[in-house]
Structure formats: structure tokens, C-alpha cells
Amino acid sequence: MAEWVSLAEAIAAGVRDGDTVAMEGFTHLIPFAAGHEIIRQKRRDLSLIRMTPDLIYDQLIGAGCAKKLTFSWGGNPGVGSLHRFRDAVENDWPAPLEIEERSHSDLANAYVTGAANLPFAVLRGYTGSDFARVNDRIRSITCPFTGEVLAATPSVRPDVAIIHAQKADWKGNVLLWGIIGVQKEAVLAAKTAIITVEERVRSLDAAPNACVLPSWVVTAVCEVPRGASPSYAHGYYERDNLFYRTWDQISRERDRFMCWLNQHVLETRDFSEYLKLQGDPHVQAVYQ
């Protein structure tokens, strides 16, 4: 059964140095507040998994939390490069970053088979590409009926999955909607699941076949309004496109990045303080 706790408590109890951590959310519902809290609590040597590393992992990598990244597309969507990610790969700063590179289709399938308790995924993929040359975990398998050869890749089974959702009820049942990405699979593939939500409600009032994660597959649930900002939460707030563009400037040079990181994350107490510093006009309404 999910326990309602503060985000600081959830991260303190749920994420350890050296853990394999998947923070998912495909453009929508990216768990930025949780990412900041991991930085604030100075977790180290994490093996991070995420289809689209995005700003959230650029921050974690730049802050020195990661030793490995498994991913399928590492850019700043609609803007350009992830400079901290590139600096780690190209220049080993702030530390060398091992990468395990896969395609979206592969990684999505690998979460599915992780959730399904299978050791590998089978897909039509990678034929003719150079991936298998640089990732020896992209292998092949032969269909026992047709003799066709398909790609086989290892399932994703993180220690911890962290996602952001719109609502949870008092029991800790969680509802998300809109672009739901690979979040259900990430949670079900993981040993521990930490979920931040926009609001705690009496009843989910979910549609019959909505994407609901029952309380008993969730370890901790935390009320963190605007916790996906600068990404968006459908029905709550829009994407802060300006911040995504500004990030290109903030993250380009190490000094400016460190200065931002100190001021906005390491020296803030929690995500509400971060939002206030960002000048978020809604922060007063959602945090008293």
C-alpha cells in the first residue's frame, strides 16, 4: 500500500546511492520535483534510465548524480542539445558517463517485458544499423515457427521508478491521463515506485479504462503541485516553453550551470521554494 509522505522522505527512503532509477514521462508529466530532490539529497552513482533524458537528466548528470545513462533520445525537445549530457559524454565532466544506447521502440518494449516479468524483449528492429556494434546487449533470436531472426534486448527492471501524475486518492490510488507514455510499465517493472501528484483527492472519478495505478503497486505518493514544471500536467498547467529555451543558455557553460544549480536546487529547501525563485505566479495558490 502506498504511503503518503513528503517528497524528501520518499527520496530519502526510496533512492540509494548506486541504484538503477527510471524517471519517466514523455514530454508530459516529467517528475522534475523528484529529480531536484535527488540532486538536493546528493545521491551518487545512479544508473539512470529514461527514453528521453530531457532537462531533468541534464540536471542530474550535471549535478554529478549519475554514473550510467540508458536512453534512446537525448535532446532538448524543440531547442537543441542537452549540454550537460554532451559535456559528460564528450569531456567526462563532472564525471565519466557510461551510456547504453537503444531505440525508442526497443526501450519501450523493454519496459513492457520488465513489467511482464520476462527477461528479454523481442522486436523488429536495428536491422542494418550500427547499434549492435556499440551495445553488445542488442542480440538476436530466431522464431521457432518461421525461422525469422528478430532483435532481442534485455528487459528494463529498475530498482526505483519515479513518475508524476495528476491525482491520487487518500488510499494512494493514482490516476494519470493524456500522454501517458511508458509510465505504467516503468512503475510495474520496478521494485520501488515513487509517485508525485498534482493533488490529493477524495475520489479519483476515473473513466472505466483510465490509466490507474492501484495503491498496492506504489511505494510512496507525495503531493507536489506543479511538480512536473517546466514540463506540463494536462488539465493543470502548460509547458513552460520559455524555460526549455532558457535552459540552453543556463546549461551551455559549466560555471553558469553550477551557479544555477546551487541557487535554484541545492540552496532551496524544496520544490515550492524553487518555484518561487522561478517566479512561478501560481505557486502561492497551490502551496500555502
Binding site: E90, V149, G178, Y244
Partner: protein
Amino acid sequence: MSSSFTADEIMTIAASRMLRNGAVCFVGIGLPSTAANLARLTHAPDAVLVYESGPIGAKPPVLPLSIGDGNLAETADTVVSTPEIFRYWLQGGRIDVGFLGAAQLDRFANINTTVVGTYDKPKVRLPGAGGAPEISSSAKEVVIIVKQSKRTFVEKLDFVTSVGFLHGGDSRECAGLTGKGPVAIITDLCILHPDPVTREMKVASIHPRVSRDTISTNTGWSIQFADSCTETEPPSPQELQVLRDLKARTAAAHGAQGEAA
């Protein structure tokens, strides 16, 4: 009604013309998304736009800035999970046309979006594959939209992220890939189609006011021109109007940030 247009405009418009009405199109963000939405707003009102984030049948009123913008979900016929998009819809064989961009490509339309330089010590670390490898292999056809330059059109790729015609000839079919592969590359200078035998991409149509010399100078291999090479139909006033309106609506909705798309 003006007949002047930019290189970007004719590139987008030429790409949009590749999408038949009713076709199901797997859309990448940026130029592919602009071209697909332009098609939907002009000659292909029943084109079905599928985004890898999950929306099926998206009809965004303005261009999305990211692959998972809220307006894609709000206007879609349905929104499924990302694994389902790749499993049931792309790999399932439901996609007619995949629209792709590219950081580097070669004469056989193989694409690199992974690294410039060596993989282990890259000079430039690019974003990586995303959905492109399986779009390249599973969509019935692929259309590539990319600005033409020596840096992009290279003799040899540093990394093959997504396959086109591999080593040319029948090497794509021999590898067991079922989709037709890249039926066109649309650039700001011209349109390339594969040679029916060698599968080398050849210039089939040159945009107005562009010289053969400019095309050759902006290509990293000795590019060939098809015997039947013609001039690209210039943008119609209606195409230009709809594209400019779409861009203006997008800028108004997203502010100056809208430019990135």
C-alpha cells in the same frame, strides 16, 4: 498574392505534397511535423497524424513544440501508451509514411543521428535514435526532410542510426526489411528519389532559382541528376498562405519560442 518564397518554405511545401490524403503518417517533431500538418491543412484533410508520444489522429491547431504537446492529445482520436504506438501501430504495419529528419545522411539515404566522430570519443554527441530506426524499417514508405549541406550530405556516415538502402541495390530487401524505404529526400534545394536499380538517391527535381552547381557544392559525394530531372512546382499562393498562417498562429500561441519548431 506573392510568388516569392524562402528555401525553407519550398522545402516544407514540397514535403507536404508527399503525403496522400488518407495516408497514415508517423510524424517526427520539427520540419516533419510542419510538413505533415501543412498537408493536413491543404490537400490531405484526412491524413492521419501519429506521434510517437501516443496521439493517433492528432489535429493540432498550431504546431507542437515538443513531440508530446498537450494540443496533440486534445485533438487526437485517441491517445495510447508509447509502447503501444511502437508495438501495435508502427511495428504492427499500420503506418503508410514515416516523415524523418536527419543530422547526416549518405547517398543511400542511411541516416546518422548518433555521433559525429567515433562512438567512444565523439566530436559531437547527437541526440540519438529516438523512433527513427524502426520508422525506417517498419513504415511502408519513408520521406526524409533535411537541409542540404556538405556537413549533412556526407560520403560516409560516422554511425548508421537508421537504415535507408544500406549498400544500395537489393541490400535492403536482402536484410529482410519489408518497408519500401526512403522514397524521397526533400531538401531546401531539391528533391531526391532513389534510382530504381542502384537505389542511390538522385536529384529528380530542382527547386526554382537553384542551380545544379549549388546542389553539387552542398553535397559531400558526387551527386547524380536523374535523366528526367525537372524543376519543382513552385509553391502555390494557397500553400504559401496556409503555411504562413500556420507559422503565424504558432508564433502567436507560443511566443518567440515558437520559432524553434
